[in-house]
Structure formats: C-alpha cells, structure tokens
Symmetry: C2
Subunit: 375 residues, 2 copies
C-alpha cells in the first residue's frame, strides 16, 4: 500500500493542514483515500512573522530567508506528527506534497513588476525531517506558461468530484473564495475555474477587529446583524466583482488594509458590519457563478466558510435553483480538500505528468507542476 | 553525446555565467569537458534591482517575488544563447543546472533568525524557456543537515582537480574568496573547504566609489598605491579573519555598508585605499590557508581575482613556499569553473547521488542536493 502526505498552509494563516492519503490502483486508475487529517495551528509568534512577510512595508530579505527555513521545519514536523498518529514512520511515505505558504501573488504584471508568485516553506527541511521525497512549488510552472498560478486544485477536483448525473461546482471558501466548475460528464479540458472573490478574509478581519476572535463561528455574529445597504452597494462596485473568469484575487485586494479603509467610512454595530460583508461574500460568489448555473447544478462548499451557516443560508437564497451541499454531504472532508489535492498534484509530478488546467488558470498549455527534492 | 548547461550568478553581480559542458562516460567515470563559456552582463537596471533585493532596508516581498521570475527569464535566455552559439537547440540538453542569485545567506542563527540561505531565479521559467529539465537550489539541502550551505563547489573540484603528485588548493576569488583543499591522492572525505574572507568585494566597492569602475583591471590601481598600515591592522582585526574553517562569509560582512563605514575613518588617495584592501584580501587568504600548506602545494587561483596581477603577486609574496597558478596554467578556465561545477552537481542530483562535502560545509551527513523541475 502506498501512502503520501499533503500539506496546505492557506491565506487564512490558521495553521498547517496535513492529510494522510492512501493510494490504490483500481482499474488502471489511482484511487486516493483520506486516512487522517489534522491542522497544526501556528503560534502567535509565527503568525506575526508570516503576517510581516506578507507586507510590503514589514517584509525584507532577512525575514523571508529565515522564515522559509522556519516554515520548512514546521511543515516537516507536521508530516512526522500525522504519521505518528497513524502508527507509521514518515520515511515509509512514497512522498510528501507541500503547497507552501504564499507570501505574495501577483497574477498579472504591475508597474515594474512581472506576474509572479512566491511560496515559502523549504522543501529541503521537509525532506530531511520526514526522511522522504518532497514535491513542492506547484504554482510557478503554470505561471511560466502565462497562467495565473491559480486555481491550483481543479485537476484534483476533476479526479475526485466528476459526476455522471450533474454539474458540480466546487466552491472553496477559505481566506479568498474560488470555484471549479466540473460539467456533467466532463473531460479535463471542460473544467473552468476562477476566484469568486473574498472568502472569509473580510469577515475574519472584522471579527478580529470587533471581537478579538479569529472568525465568525457558525456565522452567529452575522446571523444577529442587519445589512447596511450603502456599504453593500459600495462593496459590490469593487472592480474585482465586475471581472469574469479566469480571475484571481488575494490578500492584496481584500486584506487588512482594505478593511481598515472601510472602517473609516461607516459607523454601525459590529454585527451589522459582519452580516453585510457576509452577504457581500455570498453575493460575490453568486454573481461570479451566475453565467454557469444549470438545472442540474450541485454547489459543493468547502473550506472554513462551509461551517458558516449564515453564509450557506445566504448562498441558498442567492441561488435558489442550486443544490447547496457541503463536502461532508458527499462523504468527503471540507477541511482536508486542499491538502488532498496536493497529494494528487505531487503524484502527477513524480510520474512526469501535467496537472495544471489551462482553461482554469489561463496557461497556454498543460505542464508538469512542482519541484522534486529527494531525501 | 550528452550535454548540459551550468549557470552561475555570483555575489559580484557582474552577470550570468553559462557553461556548455559535454559529458562522456570513460572507464565507468563521467568526464566533464567545457565546450563553451559566456557571461551575459546584467543591465544596470537589473543590477540595481538585485542590489535592492540584497538590502534589508530596500528589499521587500513584492520585489523578491518579481525578481525571482525576472532572473529566471534571464537565466533561461542565457541557456538558449549559449546553445545557439554552438548550433544546438537547448531542448537537446540533458539538463540545465542553475545556482541562482544569492540574495541572502545567514550561515549561523542570528537573533530571531535561523541559519538559512536564499537563492532566486525561478527554475520553472528556465525549464520553459530552455525546454529541458532544470536542477536548482543546491545550497538548501546541505543547510537542512546543519551545513553552512557553502562552499558548494568542493565535490566538483575533487572530481576535476585531484592530483597524484601534489596537494592542490582551489582558491576562488569572486566577490568573496573561498578555498577547497584537495590533499595529494585525496579521498572525497579528505577535502576541506571554507571561505577565506573577502574576495574582490571590497576592492570593487572602492573602485566604484573612487573611479566609477566595476573593478581594478589587472590590479593596476593597487599597483600604484601605498599601504596604509593603520587601516590594514584594523582590517586584519575583523572577527572573520580570526575564525578557522569551515566558515562562510558574504556581502553581509564585507559589502557596501562595511566599506561606507571604513571610508569615514581614513583620509588618503584612492590607490592607497585600493592597495591596502588588496593586500588585506591577500593576507586574509594567506592567514586562512597557513595551517594547511605543505611543501607540495599548488594554489590554483580562479574567479575574477585571478586576473588581478597585483593580488597574485601579493599571494606569492605572502606564501613563498607555494606554487601560485591560475586555472589557465592547468588548461582549465577560471571564469567557467563555478558554472561547470553546477553541471557536476546537477548530474549527481539526477542520479540521486549526494554532492555536498560535509568536511567542507560542516553538514552532519552527505545528502542529495538540489531540486528538479521537469520540462
């Protein structure tokens, strides 16, 4: 039996997601099965360092150089931990596939800067600590052929979610939100994917601001608030909302600075803020998806946002013809989805097979993603 | 016949060194032969960007993210160019091995920062432009096992320079200077290597300051100056000079800031400055090598410093028992040495064989260096 660990460390900075995945060959196809999943939270100190590394003002070469190694160490320890929990030695793994921590993503050229992306969390340290081969750096190769380096998960979504009976839209709601559209009986080239706008990013920022809490658990603050129409109108006029896919966004568009500016413009109770931006998040998703909805559409929501019941309710109300599910409704795991996707991509890399989806990223062709670090 | 291209972009920032190397199997050993070599100079604009990326004050995540891609593009173009000059398509290469541009190197922990290193020049772009497999990021894996990530060339020096008749010291004088000691009839584990101090870095900085020239061609300024003993004494008291190998240094110790501070302390003609720091460079090397010199020692000087005749004369005078040669005296190429070394290391990586030298870097064990990016 072959095992691998996928590591994901998302824009929400809540920690390192590790998925232990079993790989079986069945009828000439690889079947990926989740064995275990855990999230190792970052310490406050580490979160602060990462936040500094994301910031043009606070970041510098010394910090980035060191943090790459520090995160590699933590990623390696996460691999060892999930293996120990399952009575395995990490050296028995076929490989580890690590996404890395994105500290910058510039999908299109900007001024003197070229389109580029930067993930850190040194694979050499992961390889040493886990004593196995590591595949990492999945986004770069797609950008080298004109892609936006995102979304990165459509290939695995195709493999894991394709349905004969309905169109499925995989709607991930992490720090930002992104969708992959897998048409009924799709071929790989039929996939379409794009960022749909902010995910929990604005909601979380406001929860920190008003409540010193990291997120709106179950959407309970949003449930109690009232919508401020003026703010909602302003948010819906954001240039990103108007664009059509493939498009990408990030902390640059909807992060701390964006929220800080908003907060100077309106004065209202905390829960009204939170409800309004939660509705904005739902409306941004609905607007981005509108051109693609069919009568047989299942919207499978994943990511931290799938636990926000107010947000789910809003999505149902904004798209009444759509069946809104969460990953767990399909017997899958919302939390583990992206970490599992890394395993699928890493496996492709080791077999010298492409795993970007040009129709999703805008790349000029399919390419082999990632870099291999041997133990 | 198998060919590969090695790419080196050193701390001197003079451009991209590209070596086209032919690989033959002879008596179960690979024989590496230099076919062609060229240096593609950086534009002033690129040099400025790199200089900014090296600086704690000027660097930030946006610049580093973009520059990684910009340099990858230039590295890829360098591969295509050297192949075209030799009527080859770069897609025929077995691989490209790229060192990358070091923008930070912290060999030991410092305050809140861990020992770490950072090279940029995205391999994914090199792979796309050159249409072949790329091996890159050679220093990281050594640091993951406690090595200083430097020196990186000893393995290839062992392969290329081992002599039955004498001890050979490969003395590279680039921006910084480093030595590899290859004892007579050495085995790999007998090698010793360490940085010997500044190379041309201080000399070049002063040439820029006084003459707006990039370096002291042939050492002609140094030849005309007089030594300032007070400055020389101060320089020889630098903490790095006292340390014994394995040790590493870099722009952090002897770069722009170091020179700017020195310039405030002494007032004298330009050539006296240049002669004094040239002698310091020679004395630092001689002091670092002193414990290892034998009666059968050949010092093979490489790097830009091997063209500085005043510096060579000083080395001969500081170490009278040693035969001081330049690479060309052995029918080799001083300029191409490090780029050739990358090919040797990359070849090892693709064959899953180690190529660090723990006795040189201080690593706890031999490991497979580098990361592989497939085309």
């Amino acid at each position: 039996m072959k095992y691998a660990v996928g590591l994901m460390s998302g824009t929400s900075l809540d920690g390192i997601d590790a998925a232990l995945v079993k790989m079986d060959n069945k009828e000439d196809k690889v079947h990926y099965q989740l064995v275990d999943f855990c999230t190792l939270p970052f310490s406050e100190e580490m979160k602060k360092k990462i936040t500094n590394s994301l910031s043009i003002e606070q970041s510098n070469v010394e910090l980035i150089c060191s943090l790459n190694f520090e995160l590699g160490q933590l990623f390696g320890e996460a691999v060892v931990e999930i293996c120990e929990r399952n009575d395995m030695a990490s050296s028995e793994l076929l490989f580890v596939a690590s996404h890395g921590q994105t500290i910058y993503h510039q999908p299109v050229p900007k001024g003197q800067f070229v389109a580029s992306t930067l993930q850190i969390g040194e694979s050499s340290l992961i390889a040493e600590i886990a004593q196995t081969t590591v595949v990492s750096d999945f986004r770069y190769r797609d950008m080298a052929v004109g892609g936006q380096g995102a979304p990165i998960v459509p290939y695995s979504e195709y493999l894991l979610y394709k349905s004969e009976d309905s169109q499925r839209i995989l709607q991930n709601i992490g720090g930002i939100s992104n969708a992959t559209i897998v048409p009924q009986q799709a071929e790989l080239q039929d996939l379409l994917a794009f960022d749909t706008g902010p995910g929990n990013m604005i909601i979380d920022e406001l929860c920190r601001h008003f409540y010193q809490q990291e997120y709106d658990a179950s959407g309970s603050y949003a449930k109690l608030g009232q919508v401020n129409e003026a703010l909602l109108t302003e948010l819906m006029a954001h240039p990103f909302i108007e664009k059509t896919g493939p498009k990408t966004t990030g902390r640059e568009d909807f992060g701390e600075q964006f929220v800080a500016e908003l907060l100077t413009k309106y004065d209202m109770p905390a829960n009204n803020w939170i409800r309004t931006v939660t509705l904005f998040t739902a409306k941004a998703i609905a607007k981005a998806l509108a051109p693609y909805l069919t009568e047989q559409t299942e919207l499978v929501v994943g990511g931290g946002g799938s636990y926000n019941e107010t947000l789910l309710e809003m999505l149902r109300s904004e798209m009444p013809m759509v069946k809104v599910l969460i990953q767990e409704d399909l017997g899958l795991s919302s939390e583990a989805k992206e970490a599992i996707a890394m395993v699928v991509l890493g496996h492709q890399t080791l077999n010298k097979r492409p795993s970007n989806v040009p129709s999703a990223t805008g790349a000029s062709k399919a390419v082999i993603l990632g870099k291999i670090t041997y133990y």
